[in-house]
Subunit: 358 residues, 2 copies
Amino acid sequence: MTVYNFAAGPATLPDPVIKQIQEELPSLDGTGMGILEISHRSSLFDNIINTAEQDLRDLMHIPDNYHILFFQGGGTGQFAAAPLNLATNHKRIALLDSGHWATRAGDEAANLGVQVDVLASTKDDHYQELPQMPNPISNKDYDYLHITTNNTIEGTAYHQLPEHGNVTLVGDLSSNFLAEEYKVTDFGLIFAGVQKNVGPAGVTIAIIRDDLVKPVEHIPSILNYNLFVKKNSMFNTPPVFAIYASGLVLKWLKQQGGIAEIERINRQKSALLYDFLDDSKLFSNHIKKTDRSLTNIPFTTGDADLDKQVIQATTDAGLMNLKGHRSVGGLRASLYNAMPLAGVQALVDFLHNFERQH
Amino acid sequence: MTVYNFAAGPATLPDPVIKQIQEELPSLDGTGMGILEISHRSSLFDNIINTAEQDLRDLMHIPDNYHILFFQGGGTGQFAAAPLNLATNHKRIALLDSGHWATRAGDEAANLGVQVDVLASTKDDHYQELPQMPNPISNKDYDYLHITTNNTIEGTAYHQLPEHGNVTLVGDLSSNFLAEEYKVTDFGLIFAGVQKNVGPAGVTIAIIRDDLVKPVEHIPSILNYNLFVKKNSMFNTPPVFAIYASGLVLKWLKQQGGIAEIERINRQKSALLYDFLDDSKLFSNHIKKTDRSLTNIPFTTGDADLDKQVIQATTDAGLMNLKGHRSVGGLRASLYNAMPLAGVQALVDFLHNFERQH
């Protein structure tokens, strides 16, 4: 039975990457030492981290005035790092509340003493569409505007960025990072936990414009952008394996034709499922069409018991981890870069048959 | 050629562990999904993290009133977490300056606004012996005393803990964690980056006494002990793979007979090298005998150029990563749990021959 893993993250990785990791696990480049055992100060690892950085720079067309940093601590770590490093002038940030992770980012900033102005929220609409900017904003008021480009739980995504005037834009891209094209220069800071589209959980990528990197005192070193820039992400021991594995996925993505091509495939994959859901009399997705995510698609029969039956039946058929997030219920299919079109086709075929037999 | 890796960390792992990871990388427990791809919310991973925790509890005889936590961010993360969570009463801690990593811990605490009293330092002696407590201390003055049980760079270790009166003892055990026996109940908090004796870089273990875990506000969530206790180390996505791999090493360690037995072997391994060095007319180790580390052994010919020759010759012979830390120079052999006696024997044989031919 072919197994397809629709988990929201950590998530499926490309088969050739898994195979390469497996093959070279006991000995990397004929050294007799594996990636789990080499020093982060070795030339071997220097080459790995520098190649990963360059490949990411190529893929996202990241200009030279942006630094690429590898942190530990996930998006949650960056929810703290962003205000600690950047909200130093007004100690006040703006936020568009598009769902769970935007709220979490705001809570973390507020807990660290930063004023968080929620400019708009679609909470009352169960986050089934994106909040829109109500009024122009200015850098006279805000250190930055935080947005979550893709809402993993709710299934929405900003395909066009909100107007933000001269305010620095901070984007949590975790769940559609490298899955659709964004212009890096629209952002002052981008961050993403890799465990959706890039690699195994354990490393977080931050891309930050040089003028935003300034010495900041009295904050933990492991969240200090300036220190990480100075030390090329090796202020302390980095998560060697997670960076290596992410590097292999970046190479794989280049071989697939880069982000423009993977976005085309992701649009094809998501359209396949959305079209089915929109035609279905049993299943539906409630997200406003223009705001629909390419990578995370929640859907439901509208009947919690029946949803449970579908989840059980899909699991039995090797279509794994389709249970929706507890806050939304129903089902959710995460179609990250490594999910092949065949997997989505298998899911649609299964749901179609389930509906016919129902 | 058999390769032995004497790196100071990340470091060599047990061969059977590498083999098991390799075998089950594409599919864990017949699920069709590998450890790099499974959700941290899956029952599969619940079992992995709970088993790792129980095995560690068994190995170190950790009583029920201590929590075992898995963090990201390494020892450097804990250098911040410890003062942020524990130095809340006096905002003042005591420190024994035994070398580079003790200094780094003190600097991080000071940078976060905590007063750090260095009670004793052996800096003037190039850290070739351990600092001793000059006077009794009291919890009326200090939130805790920080010590580095094993000094990775300098090659010393506390085989007996310093007197600390009623002051909570915080131990950075990173480089001899599970390599020699300590009594957990002597400490309020133990932490260790795993990348020496336990697993691949990317997870940090903290063991904390329950009464020290209290709600603390205005600190980053990823460093918040109370949150991690509440959420069983899953406040956010944990480093799944690093925890899994560490869990396999813990199982392996149990199979070796536990810490008492591995300490016996580590004493045998280190004695083999120390005895050679003490007998040698070419090589020497300058550390005070009672303070010598079991896991990190610096040595030198006393001639920087000749040291370089030795490093090159050992590398050519498959005895890898013997270059000493830049602050100490010379050579350093790290003999962590996964380094077999045969590796140390090969090193001693090589050095013996080098000396004869010199």
